[in-house]
């Protein structure tokens, strides 16, 4: 099984492990990530303005490439996942944006949101299945109490992303169970880490991350996993007393599958 893969800017630099572990794990799980050639940055945030077109075109190019390959498109980074899914929804359901973007793109055949955008976790859940994953685990992380940190971009708006229940998600918890560890459910797992605010308002980000750490450690978590480089950065920058280590979920996946050393 081959997928078009959209790594995004950060996975090429500061979050190389997120990418590396994912590729190795994917091979082990039986699918291949084919990086989209000449992909362009999604912009990191979805342009909310209903009249913004130019800032959506990079995503449309990637989506259209996947369509031409006849492949589903996979992302790993929460932000890319968010932007690509929402732009795809615009192309499919918002006539005005779709028409104008197509006018710019001048494609042989207009792009109308045909590509299916999947987060890496969705592939594990919907294509491979957590039960299958469980069978493939060679180093189960038995006894580890892990909190899943979703943040905002993977879940909201729930109606468009259709990733999981935006107020009570379970995909990462199921993932944690599948790799043999024990998920710690805590309410603030979908509260914002501060996002880009940390660039200029460090204290605000400190306050946000403290709330998250306080809540997850209170409920017994020993470590957190995330899918987002920005969330991980903000969490790592936290000075909260309750701070615990934060990993990309792919790192734990690679470890559980026994491919971490190959990376």
């Amino acid at each position: 099984m081959k997928y078009s893969y959209y790594p995004g800017c950060t996975l090429k630099n500061k979050a190389q492990d997120l990418d590396r572990y994912a590729r190795a794990s994917a091979l082990k799980l039986g699918f291949e990530l084919e990086e989209i050639p000449d992909w362009q940055c999604c912009g990191g945030v979805y342009p909310l303005g209903s009249d913004e077109i130019a800032s959506k075109l990079a995503s449309v190019r990637a989506l259209n490439y996947a369509k031409e390959q006849g492949q589903d498109l996979i992302t790993l980074c929460s932000a890319c996942h968010h932007v690509l899914k929402r732009v795809n929804d615009d192309m499919k359901n918002v006539q005005d944006i779709s028409d104008r973007a197509n006018n710019y793109m001048k494609l042989d055949e207009p792009y109308r949101g045909e590509t299916k955008v999947l987060h890496f976790l969705e592939v594990i859940r919907d294509v491979i299945g957590f039960d299958e994953l469980k069978k493939m685990v060679v180093n189960p992380l038995t006894g580890k109490k892990i909190g899943a940190y979703y943040g905002c971009l993977t879940l909201r708006p729930g109606k468009i992303l259709e990733f999981d229940n935006p107020e009570n998600p379970k995909i990462m918890e199921d993932f944690i169970r599948a790799i043999g560890a024990e998920p710690v459910i805590y309410a603030n797992r979908n509260e914002c880490c501060g996002g880009y605010i940390s660039l200029k308002e460090g204290e605000m980000a400190q306050d946000r991350t403290k709330k998250i750490f306080d809540n997850c450690t209170d409920m017994g978590a020993e470590m957190l996993i995330t899918a987002c480089p920005l969330c991980r950065y903000n969490l790592n920058k936290s000075e909260a007393d309750s701070k615990i280590p934060v990993y990309y979920f792919t790192e734990l996946l690679a470890e559980a599958l026994g491919v971490k050393e190959d990376c």
Binding site: L48, C152, G195, I197, K200, M204
Partner: protein, 126 residues
């Protein structure tokens, strides 16, 4: 309605008249305390045509675009989109970028992911 108010409604695609003042947005907002104009008040400013105060508000730069208010709003008003529209008016018309290029080097830190810079640029600048 002023041109700016009209524009905010157009850019955001939100109808402020649908708001029933329940406060769900302000109850959900993680940046509530840092904001001078609170999320549930955005609607009133647009309806009152006081775009001046809105574009000069600190709140514009404190919103995290986390969509908690958008997800939970029972009336489909989506205050987060309104504030983003106001932010865009500032950036488009008044050149009031919140982030200057020459500020950057001093804000940088070696662990900072590219995503952060890209996002901040998108949100803070035209």
């Amino acid at each position: 309605m002023s041109r700016d108010a009209e524009m905010i409604r157009e850019i955001s695609g939100c109808d402020p008249y649908r708001c029933m003042k329940c406060g769900k947005c302000s109850a959900s907002c993680p940046s509530f305390n840092e904001m001078d104009i609170k999320p549930h008040q955005f609607v009133s400013y647009v309806l009152r045509d006081d775009i001046e105060s809105l574009v000069n508000s600190k709140s514009l730069w404190k919103c995290l675009s986390c969509f908690a208010c958008v997800e939970r709003c029972p009336r489909d008003v989506k205050p987060g989109k309104l504030i983003d529209a106001a932010r865009q008016i500032v950036e488009r018309q008044q050149g009031g970028d919140y982030l200057k290029a020459d500020e950057i080097p001093e804000l940088l830190d070696p662990d900072m992911p590219q995503q952060l810079l890209v996002s901040a640029f998108r949100r803070y600048r035209r």
